[in-house]
């Protein structure tokens, strides 16, 4: 990562930043955003590698995941309204007491469930996203394997608009904040653990998100690497025709892979809700950056997607440091695109791209 070094040295030489803590903090900051990029890019690459389709609706899947969490939370917090006759308001009317049904039913346990609504909605999101993914592949994308790439892009793009507008219609245009469980709502004093001093504190939830994304990435790789099913899928990515000739129904497996990619994107969305209040266009915002991640990492390369995801996330967070933005105002908004251009001009295949992928 030569550019990263350059940025670092530059800021240190400048004397504006002598503080290793700040650098470490920015590094951490990049990890959770990078995690989201990596998860979305991983799904995109999976779909592209197996089905050969660039899915412009993948960002919408990320957004749908986030709204799974929102819906689940809304369902949980349905309230029972009772008038408490013993207490009165300033106007002398009976006081309204609102309690969530779930608290009424389960008492303290209900409160805990409500508190943990974001992590719990993972359980809901997995089957929902799997279904949506499989339905999308069987219902629409299946018909586009033999069509030109331009058609694939266009139809998934239309799909993304449709999903986005439906969400907007039902949930409104404003972001809907979600809260992380109380136990991880504060900040972790990482500085103390690592002996860096007291002022390196970092929100717990972002650490959780990083750990979560690392876990999911590891799980996907383990699935592909260590199971027979994954082995067949990998073989299919190399040469689906031969695998088909061996008597394996590779299309069915690819459908499952599409569902898996949808789940990965959905889970990334679910867990991201406490960090960024979800709104209907968050998917497209992330999709554009994830595309850049995929291109930088090398089209069709899974490790490349993960590596580039984290790298660009960290880079973006370094670029948003005060010391850097005072030198180059607004650099944090465009750094990723600039890096993408430089990488593409020097290494047209991306960081880890293989020869012969997506080359006419």
């Amino acid at each position: 990562m030569p550019i990263l070094h350059l940025l670092l040295e530059h800021s240190v030489d400048n004397g504006a930043l002598r503080n290793m803590d700040a650098i470490f903090l920015q590094f951490l900051n990049g990890l959770d955003k990078g995690g989201a990029y990596a998860l979305i890019a991983l799904g995109l690459t999976l779909v592209f590698g197996t089905l050969g389709v660039v899915n412009f609706a993948h960002g919408a899947l990320f957004m749908l995941g986030a709204f799974c969490a929102v819906t689940f939370n809304k369902l949980l917090s349905l309230e029972l309204v009772v008038l408490d006759e013993t207490k009165t308001t300033a106007w002398g009317t009976a006081l309204e007491v609102r309690t969530a049904y779930i608290e009424n039913w389960f008492g303290d346990f209900g409160t805990t469930i409500l508190d943990y609504s974001v992590p719990i909605s993972i359980i809901v999101a997995i089957p929902v996203m799997l279904l949506i993914g499989i339905a999308m592949e069987r219902g629409l994308i299946k018909y586009f394997y033999k069509r030109p790439h331009a058609d694939q892009i266009l139809v998934t793009f239309g799909m993304a608009i449709v999903i986005q507008e439906i969400i907007k219609h039902y949930f409104g245009a404003n972001p809907i904040p979600q809260s992380a469980p109380d136990i991880v709502s504060g900040s972790a004093n990482i500085g103390l653990w690592l002996g860096l001093g007291d002022n390196v504190v970092y929100p717990w939830w972002r650490l959780v998100y990083f750990a979560f994304s690392a876990f999911i990435i590891a799980a996907v790789f383990a699935f592909l690497q260590f199971t027979t099913y994954g082995m067949v899928v990998r073989a299919g990515m190399r040469d689906s025709e031969t695998v088909g000739l061996l008597g394996i129904n590779i299309e069915k497996r690819f459908t499952v892979v599409f569902g898996l990619a949808a789940v990965v994107a959905g889970l990334a969305g679910v867990m991201y809700t406490p960090i960024l209040p979800p709104d209907y266009h968050m998917g497209m915002d992330f999709l554009v950056l994830s595309f850049v991640v995929v291109v930088v990492g090398g089209m069709g390369s899974l490790p490349g997607a993960v590596l580039a995801g984290f790298m660009l996330g960290i880079l973006q967070s370094f670029a948003s440091m005060n010391e850097i933005t005072s030198l180059f105002p607004g650099i944090d908004q465009i750094i990723i695109y600039l890096v993408a251009v430089v990488i593409l001009l020097t290494m047209p295949r991306g960081l880890l791209g293989r020869e012969g992928v997506m080359e006419e």
Binding site: L140, R147, H149, A150, G158, I161, Q164, H169, V288
Partner: protein, 381 residues
């Protein structure tokens, strides 16, 4: 008729006549007011330019709105700095967008296919970010760039003392609002039609078509394709810049939202709706979309209640609920659905549908009233 049409002067004359009489023949549709007519002309130019790239070379750019925005900003700056005359503004907008297109094209055209689409999308998003926040001194960020009383307007001030209030755009004294604005845009559209017709018929255009059908083979025959695609990209960017500066001419302000990816998607939709690679298809697509946008987005629940007033109460509410998804704020949903339907069932767009209908009549195989099935004859396999 067909032979006559292929003769250039006649084709141009006919086209000009159709465009210039638009206020008359659009009257029954209720679309003959200047605001909408100007949009018709401007977006027709935009789509026509996009078609030169996508229709001829097959490179699907997802970032064309960036050029539209750049053209708008350049035109407004020309109004602010030099003069309210629209000619310099249009020239600036077009040239500036051409320069930006050269820059972007040089980088993006190194890759083709999906890579190219993604790269142009990324660039457009970068320009949107630049305009929205980073370059606020130049673009006035979120508010958008507007004329102010303190603008220098060097040339205008040198010729006459500044008047009261904000000046309006003019062409040597002729105000550019209302119908005169439309006729200016229409003239530009006719010129653009002429240029794009020439490109379609030229050896250059044929080369581009060759690149679309098989770039590798073109390379083997000794063509260096890069300069050709780059030229097409720049021309197409200049068309978009012209459209953008015309938007500023009819209403002198420029905002970043013009560069958003939805705007890029809209021009793609216009082009494929009308018919990719055809001369007038994209223009038709632009008209249809702008016309229905105008109608659909003005609907609200009350208007819908009136439309469905013939239905019984319960049924009416259901119908209103269902259609309110698609109108007013939900116009984009209609756009998305239309997008999918066209790509799935009619990839050749309306022009393709028209050709199929004509073929059916000529062939005599299908009877009358078969036009609707003809449009959906190609399933999505």
């Amino acid at each position: 008729m067909k032979q006559l049409l292929s003769k250039e002067p006649f084709a141009l004359l006919l086209f000009s006549a159709v465009i210039l009489t638009m206020p008359i023949w659009l009257a029954p549709l209720g679309a003959n007011y200047p605001d909408l007519l100007q949009k018709f002309a401007i977006y027709a130019i935009f789509a026509m330019g996009f078609n030169i790239l996508f229709g001829l070379t097959g490179y699907l750019s997802f970032g064309h709105a960036a050029f539209l925005g750049v053209g708008s900003y350049a035109a407004v700056w020309s109004f602010k700095l030099f003069t309210m005359n629209v000619l310099p503004a249009v020239l600036f907008g077009t040239a500036f967008a051409g320069g930006v297109a050269l820059l972007i094209g040089f980088v993006c055209l190194r890759r083709s296919g999906i890579y190219f689409s993604i790269l142009t999308l990324a660039f457009a998003q970068m320009f949107y970010n630049l305009a929205y926040s980073v370059m606020t001194p130049i673009t006035n960020g979120e508010t958008g760039l507007q004329l102010t009383l303190q603008d220098p307007r060097i040339i205008d001030r040198a010729l006459a003392p500044a008047g009261q209030g904000l000046p309006s755009t003019e062409l040597f004294g002729l105000s550019m609002s209302g119908y005169s604005g439309f006729y200016f845009c229409a003239t530009m559209l006719i010129i653009c039609f002429f240029i794009s017709r020439r490109i379609f018929k030229s050896p250059f255009g044929l080369t581009l078509l060759g690149i679309k059908s098989n770039q590798t083979r073109m390379n083997y025959t000794g063509f260096n394709t890069r300069p050709y695609t780059l030229t097409a990209f720049v021309i197409s960017g200049m068309f978009a810049g012209l459209a953008g500066s015309l938007l500023a001419v009819t209403d002198p302000l420029a905002g970043a939202e013009r560069m958003q990816w939805t705007a890029s998607g809209e021009v793609v939709l216009m082009t494929i709706l009308g018919g990719v690679g055809t001369l007038i298809g994209p223009m038709l697509g632009a008209w249809i979309i702008k016309y229905f946008e105008n109608i659909f987005s003005s609907f609200n629940d009350d208007a819908l209640q009136q439309v469905y007033s013939f239905l019984p109460e319960g049924l009416r509410n259901m119908a209103v609920d269902l259609s309110s998804l698609f109108v007013g704020e939900g116009w984009h949903l209609t756009l998305g659905v239309l997008f999918m339907l066209i790509v799935i069932f009619l990839p050749g767009g309306l022009m393709e549908g028209w050709r199929r209908i004509v073929r059916r009549f000529r062939g005599g195989g299908g009877g009358e009233g078969e036009s609707a099935p003809a449009a959906t004859a190609q399933p999505a396999e």
